[in-house]
């Protein structure tokens, strides 16, 4: 069983997302939290396999939580879900040791597949978001 803490500030989305990933039976949601501080607290307390987290939340963002999890060398791996791949987020996520970076509206099979993959030690980045990383200002051939 893969144990997951879910963090998302929109409560309807939090409930639906949690129910959705638990449907197959091999993923268990051990806590649902609505802000960054509560998510971090749950991770420290419950030591889940995964934190599935939104980015923009009151107080602390999902990326800041990931920073702390990395700094404290907790065993929980972080998967970020987001609505829009905003500028700079993906790079920040990678720097914070995030293992998964997905669209919130990804088809559920893709979402659960990504969670299993990350729990097994792999990575999962949504192609739409990965491509946006190279769109502008980051051409390795251009030397500033």
């Amino acid at each position: 069983m893969i144990r997951v803490v879910v963090a998302e500030d929109q409560s309807l989305v939090l409930a639906a997302l949690s129910a959705l990933i638990a449907l197959d039976g091999d993923i268990e949601v051990v806590a649902q939290t609505r802000d960054g501080a509560a998510a971090l607290d749950a991770v420290r307390r419950l030591s889940p396999d995964l934190l599935l987290s939104d980015i923009e939340m009151p107080g602390m963002t999902g990326l800041e939580v990931a920073d702390i999890i990395q700094a404290e060398r907790l065993k929980t791996r972080v998967v970020i879900v987001t609505t829009f791949g905003r500028a700079g987020y993906l790079k920040r996520a990678m720097a914070a040791g995030v293992r998964g970076y997905l669209l919130k509206d990804a088809p559920p099979e893709m979402l659960t597949q990504a969670l299993r993959q990350v729990a097994a030690g792999g990575k999962a980045i949504a192609p739409e978001l990965a491509a946006s990383m190279w769109d502008a200002g980051d051409d390795p051939l251009t030397d500033r």
């Binding site: 929109q10 309807l12 989305v13 639906a16 997302l17 129910a19 959705l20 449907l23 609505t83 829009f84 919130k104 509206d105 088809p107 559920p108």
Partner: protein, 219 residues
């Protein structure tokens, strides 16, 4: 537009500057507006559509095993969509052109160009449909007066009759070729689409643009 003591060259220079600076101001304003609206909608839509997609997936999966829960999820989705529609409608209503607002802008544009501006008739009695089309017509026609006519005055006439409304924009300038660019073409297309007719007269005594539209008066 005869500034006392200004040489001819100075007047021409002033007019050139006015046009250049208007372009700049226009670009800046359009960018700012797009960005503001972009941010608002981004948030509203992102939130709603994400919620809808996740809950709908959940409901689809529940349909076979827990029809009562599935039904509740679907009702939530319908509810969220309806609420978002109300919000979008409110946002869009504030965005659609209105004739009274457009008249204010036209008055400003003419006064800045030193063109006298007169309005006859009641712009505020029109239905929103006719009002929005006429607002667009007036915007383009007055922009043309400012840019091309060399007129000293511009007159707007709004005449309502049961079931229809007529707007005319008349200037006392030099007339022009009136070979239709994107401005007049776009205007013609929108008027036709709304079931109205467009008439343009131009000669050495000035130019007149007349639009007649059906108007139910409905808001």
């Amino acid at each position: 537009a005869s500034g006392a003591g200004m040489a001819n060259a100075a007047i021409r220079e002033r007019n050139r500057l006015l046009l250049v600076s208007q372009d700049a101001a226009r670009q800046l304003a359009a960018l700012a507006e797009r960005e503001r609206i972009g941010r608002d909608l981004h948030d509203l839509l992102g939130r709603t559509l994400t919620l809808v997609s996740i809950k709908a997936e959940l409901a689809a999966r529940l349909a076979g095993r827990d029809p009562v829960k599935a039904e509740q999820e679907m009702r939530d989705v319908a509810q969220a969509a309806r609420e978002a529609l109300v919000e979008v409608r409110a946002a869009v209503t504030g965005m659609v052109a209105s004739l009274p607002r457009e008249l204010d802008a036209a008055r400003l544009a003419c006064s800045a160009a030193g063109i006298e501006f007169q309005v006859e008739g009641r712009p505020d009695t029109l239905g929103q449909g006719a009002g929005a089309v006429l607002a667009m017509v007036m915007r383009e026609a007055v922009t043309n007066v400012v840019r091309h006519s060399g007129a000293a005055s511009c007159r707007i006439l709004i005449a309502t009759q049961p079931g229809r409304v007529q707007l005319s924009v008349t200037d006392d300038g030099n007339g022009g070729s009136m070979i239709e660019g994107s401005g007049l073409q776009g205007l013609r297309a929108r008027v036709a689409a709304a079931g109205g007719t467009l008439l343009i007269n131009s000669g050495s005594a000035g130019t007149e643009v007349v639009v007649t539209m059906p108007d139910t008066g409905a808001p």
